[in-house]
Subunit: 215 residues, 2 copies
DNA sequence: GGGTGAACATGAAAAGTTCTCATATACTAG
DNA sequence: CTAGTATATGAGAACTTTTCATGTTCACCC
C-alpha cells in the first residue's frame, strides 16, 4: 500500500494470482485466454476444462495455475478483456467522430457491439455480464458500472440533466440493449436483423422519452 | 404419438432419465429440486455439487442419477418447475380478473414475477433463461417461447393486430422486463423499487408505442 | 397372504476434473 | 558470468461426477 512503485499495478483490480512480468509469459496468458474463448464457443461454458484450455493453448496445466487462481478466474479474465476491448473501441469511435447527436452515438455503440459479437470469439457467450461475472463472480459486478460511467461522462456534456439521472437512464438503456442483442444472437448466429433494429428503436425511444429530443 | 395413454406423458419434453412412477419417488425428486434451489441460493450455481444435493435432500447420490442423467439436468428441471409455476400463477391471475386493459395485465404479470423472486428459493438465480438453459442447455430455449406464446394468446383477444406482430412485440417486451427485473434484484436482494418502476414504464411505453393505446 | 416383476434405493468404486507442488529451466540485473 | 526471480512442467493429491451390482419396496395377481 505504501509502496512507491504503485504505478505498476495493472489498472483494474487483478483477479490474477500473479501478474505476468516477462513478455513471454504475458503472451502465454493471452494464449490461454484465446484458447478459452475458442473452447467456450465450440463446447459451451461448462464443458470447459482446465486441461483442455492448457492443451489448446499449448502449455502445461501448471502454467495456467501459475497465473490464475482457479478456472473461474480464467473466464473472468476473458470477460474483462472483452470489456476492455469494447470500451476501447467505443472511445476510439467517439474520438474520431467528434460531438454528434446522441442519437448517432447510440447507433455507433450498438454497431460496435454487433461487430464484436461477430468477430471476437467467445464474445457472444461471455462479454460483460454473462455466466461468470453475473452468476459466479461478484467482484466484477462493477464491469457494467465502468461502462455505464464512461458512457455517462460522454453524454453529460451534451444533455442538460443531473448526472445521476443520466447514469440511471444509461444503466437501464445498457441493460435493455444487452438483453435484446443477446436475444438477436440467440435466434440467429449472425444476429437477427429485425431484433437488432427493434433494439435500437427501444433504446432510442426510451432515452428520448426520458431526456427529450434535445440535441 | 398414436399411444392411447398419451395423457400420461408429463406435458413438457422430459429431460429426465426416468419419470418417477411411484408417489414416494416423485416426492423424492421434488426434494432434490428443493435442495438444489436452496443450495443455489446459498452457494451459487457452480459451487453446486451432486453430493451436496443428495445430502441436503437426504438421499443417496445414486438416487439422483436414478432420475436425472446428469447435474445439468437437475438444474434444468428446476428451471422448468419455476417456469411452470410462473405460467400457472399468471393464468390463475388472469382467469380471476377477467378482461381488463392490457395495461393492467402487464402490471399483474410483473407483480407475479416479483413475488416469485421474493418467495421462491432459487428463482432469482434460475428462472427461465439464466445460467442453465441460456448458457448450458439449448433444448430449453423454447421455455421462453412457451411463455411468450401463452401471453400472446391472451393479448390477441384484446388487441386488433396480426398475431405474428403481437408475438414479436411480446417477445421483446418479455426480454426487456426480464433483464430489468434481474438488474433490480442484482442491485438489491429485495428488488430495487426504482428500477422495478422503470421496468414497468419501459415495457408499457414500448407496447403502447407499438400497438397504440387501444384498449 | 404369498409370489413375481418392475420400480426404487444405496454406496462403493470407476472415471474424470481441479489444483498443488517439488523440480527444472529461462530471464534479468549487476 | 552469477545470483535471484520468474516461469514451465507434469505427476499425483484431492475432490466430483457418474456407474453399477446388490438389496428393498411396491403394485398386482392368484
Amino acid at each position: 500500500m505504501s509502496d512507491i512503485q504503485a504505478a505498476k499495478v495493472p489498472a483494474e483490480a487483478t483477479p490474477l494470482r500473479r501478474q505476468p512480468v516477462q513478455q513471454r509469459s504475458a503472451k502465454r496468458v493471452e494464449q490461454m485466454l484465446d484458447a478459452s474463448a475458442a473452447l467456450i464457443d465450440e463446447l459451451g461454458y461448462d464443458a470447459l476444462t482446465t486441461t483442455l484450455i492448457a492443451k489448446r493453448a499449448g502449455v502445461a496445466v501448471g502454467s495456467l495455475y501459475q497465473f490464475f487462481p482457479d478456472k473461474r478466474a480464467v473466464v473472468q479474465a476473458l470477460t474483462a478483456r472483452n470489456l476492455e476491448r469494447f470500451v476501447g473501441a467505443v472511445n476510439e469511435r467517439l474520438k474520431q467522430l467528434g460531438p454528434e447527436h446522441w442519437w448517432d452515438v447510440v447507433d455507433s455503440i450498438l454497431d460496435i457491439y454487433l461487430d464484436m459479437h461477430r468477430s471476437v470469439p467467445g464474445f457472444s457467450k461471455v462479454h460483460f455480464g454473462d455466466i461468470i461475472d453475473r452468476q459466479l463472480l461478484d467482484e466484477t459486478r462493477d464491469n457494467n458500472a465502468v461502462l455505464v460511467d464512461s458512457l455517462t461522462d460522454l453524454v453529460a456534456t451534451q444533455v442538460d440533466r443531473p448526472v445521476e439521472d443520466l447514469r440511471f437512464a444509461i444503466g437501464i438503456a445498457n441493460e435493455v440493449a444487452d438483453a435484446l442483442l443477446k436475444l438477436a444472437f440467440r435466434k440467429e448466429p449472425s444476429g437477427d436483423e429485425k431484433i437488432v433494429a427493434e433494439a435500437k428503436y427501444v433504446v432510442k425511444g426510451y432515452l428520448a422519452a426520458r431526456f427529450g429530443e434535445q440535441s
